[in-house]
């Protein structure tokens, strides 16, 4: 979230799209209700299904699964062509005036720089035109034909209401009504919040769906203000913490990233990461990358990380490609990966194409399961009849099962969607032989380390030199780990302006990442968490609910990264003169000498807005402003473009009917064999989408009796027209199949899944709730991921669970 849960109450318009907050986030949804009851907010829901959120909405518009960019592209066209944008905000705080180089082009669905054989873009031609000082050229009038605003206007002019309706199936009048409601927030006195979740991320073009939403919010001036923002609702209680701590194969803690094969020395590694400003006087905060990176290396390897050995840069692996979960299971299937440690994770349930997942696990030498519950993954080798029809005798994988604690059986912090780190205490002792995850990993680590110490090996240094100064080495405490990720001074940290002044004494906790250094004098395990556990103690355990500004900015409740800031880019809540856009919801403003207000200012505190080249509020970008057009960073292009899901009921992309290369995301990675496993609309004519229900949490709560009672048995949802056409009765049994497998369950026939008219084709949707499987106390069922395709978003590799093709028949 750029903003936070409580702040949703400040919204005038709430758009829920690519998510179903009432269903999947019932507790957080209270803030939508609060906005409706006390702020007269209007709720818009755009979804293929009339969801629990839609039941609470003021306006609902249906959409074909996977066509969100077309819908939002149409909204952008509406806003730009009718000039319903917050012009001063756009001109000052976005890259709308920036001029793109002459090499940029977009022809028949493909941007310049495409390499078809590699399915990859070279982004060189997407860059800004630079002046002699290396700064991007801008045209403050935003009239230059190659300035971002004009490029965008041309790009989105193609997304007419007729075209939107043709692609999305949303009736034109409903689409225009939504545009009209959204456009009411283009004025400084109105705010719209966007709430989304996996309904956007789980597509082959998911990142660009989110970007389209963000572009819309920027045009409306809705980023950095109370009641606004792009708010990703995280689906597990601590999944925000997972990304923050970098638990992805190419990530390091705090959104630092692993070096690639081509980056074998520190200088090359820093170059694309520690970006110089592209406009005069801008903060370009990632310039501090070396401070965060060196502090991380010091946290991990202490004295072994020295200036001479480039802070042990050579200890880190250099990646030749992404090693995401799809890649891992592809490698297992190829026999190239033969051991797997699976911690708090149920890939047989959670990953696409169950058949391929089980085939991969069956080829392993060993599988380690660390989990508080029995999972389908732990039991993948066992025959559960039709729900898991495997031959146990053919599977030679050794499975080690370590029962672990669940969240309520341990101390620690959970990071919620609002980026709040909230400390919690153990509520109960774990049952039986269960041990904490940290304890289990520590035990494994010590055994590996002992082996390296005794026997040596190809490269023992990163293992044997790893910092491990916990008081009980086999049982590091949550407090010790939290203090470590916050960071401390190794030697005295001096004030650069006055070297006689000591800012932090050696051995003391740092109070924020501004004190981290790249000279080896500081250590911090996750720079964005610096400030969470200071010399003053555990800030995450704070429980002061005071809200003196009445905006829900409870700065004394727990601790939010970064720097206890609750709303990101909050300096954009004030106009370029430093005064609030809207006096009724002031966040931070210029006092004459510094930035002050209801939040920790997201700008250099003394950056005077009256300066000729004022410091701009988007301090993390090298431009200082937000990117409508992304010259770097996105795999499939600088502007979002609609592509069809890999499995689509339409033969072509209606935007580019004559270019098969631009049918689905041209930059998405597809493994050999998976392309063949895609189905065609001839055999699988219906759009399927998978999702959660309120009554359950993923594959966990089928182990909980009360949850099993309130939603006992697997079902699929279909519309009345489809049911009638196929002779399916409400409550009757059906078989749903894709090109990868089938499931059998009960059908819920509903008015809530409308049939859509897309380009003359009647599109029916089959809704597939997750949650059932072959273990647990709810009625046994099939794993829905038996059906899903093995392809992911081109940037994140998040699988396309939300739109694919199936057939359905009476069982």
């Amino acid at each position: 979230m750029t903003n936070h849960w409580v702040d949703i109450k400040n919204a005038d318009v709430v758009l829920i799209m690519g998510g179903n907050a009432a269903e999947a986030h019932p507790c957080g949804f209270k803030w939508v209700i609060e906005a409706k009851h006390h702020n007269k907010a209007k709720l818009i829901v755009v979804d293929p299904r009339f969801t629990r959120s839609a039941a609470m909405s003021d306006y609902y518009a249906p959409i074909r699964a996977g066509s969100d960019i077309a819908f939002l592209g149409g909204v952008l066209n509406y806003l730009l062509s009718k000039d319903q944008i917050q012009r001063e905000y756009v001109k000052n705080y976005t890259n709308a005036p920036f001029i793109i180089g002459e090499g940029f082009g977009f022809v028949d669905g493909l941007f310049s720089g495409y390499d078809e054989t590699k399915r990859r873009y070279d982004a060189k031609s997407w860059e800004y035109e630079l002046d002699d000082h290396g700064f991007a050229k801008v045209d403050p009038t935003m009239e230059h034909p190659r300035c971002v605003l004009q490029v965008m206007k041309r790009h989105y002019a193609r997304y007419t209401p007729e075209m939107v309706s043709k692609i999305t199936g949303t009736p034109k009048d409903k689409f225009l009504k939504v545009c009209e409601m959204i456009a009411t927030t283009a004025v400084p006195g109105k705010a719209m919040t966007v709430m989304y979740a996996l309904g956007w991320t789980q597509h082959s073009q998911g990142s660009q769906m989110i970007r389209t939403g963000a572009i819309m919010q920027l045009l409306l001036g809705n980023i950095g203000i109370a009641g606004g923002g792009m708010n990703a609702l995280r689906g597990h209680s601590n999944i925000q913490g997972l990304t923050d701590l970098g638990l992805l194969s190419n990530s390091l803690p705090g959104y630092l990233s692993l070096a690639t094969d081509a980056e074998q020395d520190l200088e090359t590694y820093y170059k694309p990461r520690a970006l110089k400003p592209l406009r005069p006087n801008q903060m370009s905060y990632w310039q501090n990358y070396p401070k965060f990176f060196v502090s991380l290396q010091k946290a991990w390897w202490g004295k072994a990380a020295t200036a001479e050995n480039s802070w042990a840069f050579h200890y880190l692996p250099k990646i030749d490609k992404l090693y995401d979960v799809l890649q891992a299971f592809e490698l297992m299937n190829q026999g190239k990966l033969n051991g797997y440690i699976c911690q708090g994770f149920n890939p047989v349930g959670s990953f696409p194409n169950k058949k391929k997942i089980v085939a991969g696990l069956s080829k392993l030498k060993y599988l380690v399961i660390i989990d508080p519950l029995t999972t389908e993954t732990a039991e993948f080798w066992k025959n559960y009849g039709e729900h898991n029809d495997v031959k146990s005798e053919d599977i030679q994988t050794t499975v080690f099962r370590f029962p672990s604690t669940c969240f309520a059986e341990e101390d620690g912090s959970l990071t919620n969607s609002s980026r709040w780190l909230q400390w919690h205490s153990k509520g109960a002792e774990p049952p039986g032989e269960a041990r904490g995850d940290v304890e289990i990993i520590a035990d494994i680590f010590h055994r590996i380390k002992t082996a390296y110490v005794k026997e040596g090996g190809a490269f023992p240094d990163p293992i044997v030199n790893l910092t491990w100064s916990y008081k009980i080495p086999h049982k590091p405490s949550a407090e010790e780990l939290a203090m470590e990720f916050n960071g401390k001074a190794i030697t005295d940290v001096l004030d650069p302006k006055d070297p006689a002044k000591v800012l932090v004494k050696a051995g003391e906790q740092v109070s924020g990442f501004g004190l981290l250094r790249d000279d080896g004098s500081t250590a911090s395990g996750c720079w964005i968490f610096a400030g969470a556990w200071t010399q003053a103690g555990n800030q995450m355990a704070r429980r002061d609910n005071a809200d003196p500004w009445g905006l829900g900015q409870t700065l004394g409740w727990a601790w939010a990264w970064p720097a206890n800031r609750r709303i990101l880019y909050n300096a954009a809540s004030s106009a370029p003169d430093g005064k609030p856009w809207d006096a009724t919801r002031k966040l931070v403003q210029w006092s004459g000498t510094s930035w002050v207000g209801a939040d920790v200012p997201d700008i250099r505190p003394d950056a005077d807005p009256a300066e000729a080249d004022r410091v701009q509020p988007f301090i993390m970008t090298s431009e200082g402003v937000a990117r409508l057009f992304a010259p770097t960073g996105m795999a499939e292009g600088p502007l979002p473009e609609h592509y069809e899901p890999f499995e689509s009921p339409l033969a072509n992309n209606p935007m580019h009917p004559n270019n098969p290369k631009a049918r689905a995301n041209p930059a998405a990675r597809v493994f050999k064999g998976d392309m063949e496993a895609f189905g065609s609309p001839k055999d699988f004519p219906y759009v399927a989408t998978s999702y959660r229900l309120t009554e359950h949490f993923h594959y966990w709560t089928k182990n909980v009796l009360t949850s099993a009672i309130i939603q006992p048995q697997q079902f699929v949802e279909i519309g009345e027209q489809l049911a009638q056409a196929k002779g399916i009765e409400n409550g009757g049994w059906v078989k749903v199949s894709s090109n990868r497998g089938f499931i059998k369950c009960v059908a819920v026939v509903t008015k809530r899944i409308p049939q859509l008219d897309c380009d003359g084709i009647k599109v029916d949707t089959v809704g597939l709730p997750n949650h059932w499987g072959f273990v647990g106390i709810a009625k046994p069922g099939y794993l829905v991921n038996t059906l899903t395709p093995f392809v992911g978003d081109a940037n994140t590799q998040t699988p396309e669970y939300k739109s694919f093709l199936v057939n359905i028949e009476k069982a």
Binding site: P26, M56, L705, I709, Q711, P712
Partner: protein
Amino acid sequence: MSSLQSLDIAARSATTTPSPQVRKTPELAKLIDVSSCIGCKACQVACMQWNDLRDEVGDNIGTYDNPRDLTPESWTVMRFSEVETQTKDEGTRLEWLIRKDGCMHGEDPGCLKACPAPGAIVQYTNGIVDFISENCIGCGYCIKGCPFNIPRISPVDHKSYKCTLCSDRVGVGLEPACVKACPTGAIMFGSKSDMASWAGERIEDLKSRGFANAGLYDPPGVGGTHVMYVLHHADRPSLYAGLPDKPRISMFVEAWKGMFKPVALAGIAVAAVAGFLHWVVTGPNDVQPKDDAEAEHLRQKADDPT
């Protein structure tokens, strides 16, 4: 299960002695704002957990309703209705109306009126209608008497069960468990007048959003209720999974309490005499093997929580 005291009893089934009058307690109510209910069923789980009830793991029969009906172990269930309404602006509009069903705690409780077992049903001065289960004889008259079809007889112990409005919690100053668990504030609890005034705010908001017939469901036919609903369509309560448009206590129950009761009591006396004659003439009713098997089945069902 009540923590309320005998001093709080306003009415008692099949009892002719007058109730104590000295204590004054405020009239309470639970307000269910259907327009703010997301149907998450947290209230159902809270009810199970507070009251230590676990129903069967059932089946899906083509709806989100689960358990599919009120049972002796499920004192509240969500009822989902897909309804198409007509609006001026949009034409036909789909609505998914989600109503939490359970005892309405009527001011004029049909169950209590119909109950022949002394003290099996009581009404407290705060308005809660409670079943005192040890006095229940399982006759099922409360079901006939209830205009909302709420009580359910257990086939295991042959006693009638329904929502107590958490009289044990309320008795010690706590809100009912469902109120505490509701994440959106759709279930509120307090004095009936406060609830009516909060309902007024909600109704005004709903009217501003185009629900011209929004209103409070507090049906006068049963003297008002201590569980009330805010409805978007108060002119058509039956849209909400058959909520009675104009609930009244059954004529038979009213009649039973009135002129038929003496006649019926005479009838019972006749039946008792007839039973005695039957015993004299043909001997006692013996337990047959079939009865044994049936009892065993019920016992096993009661022992097996799944």
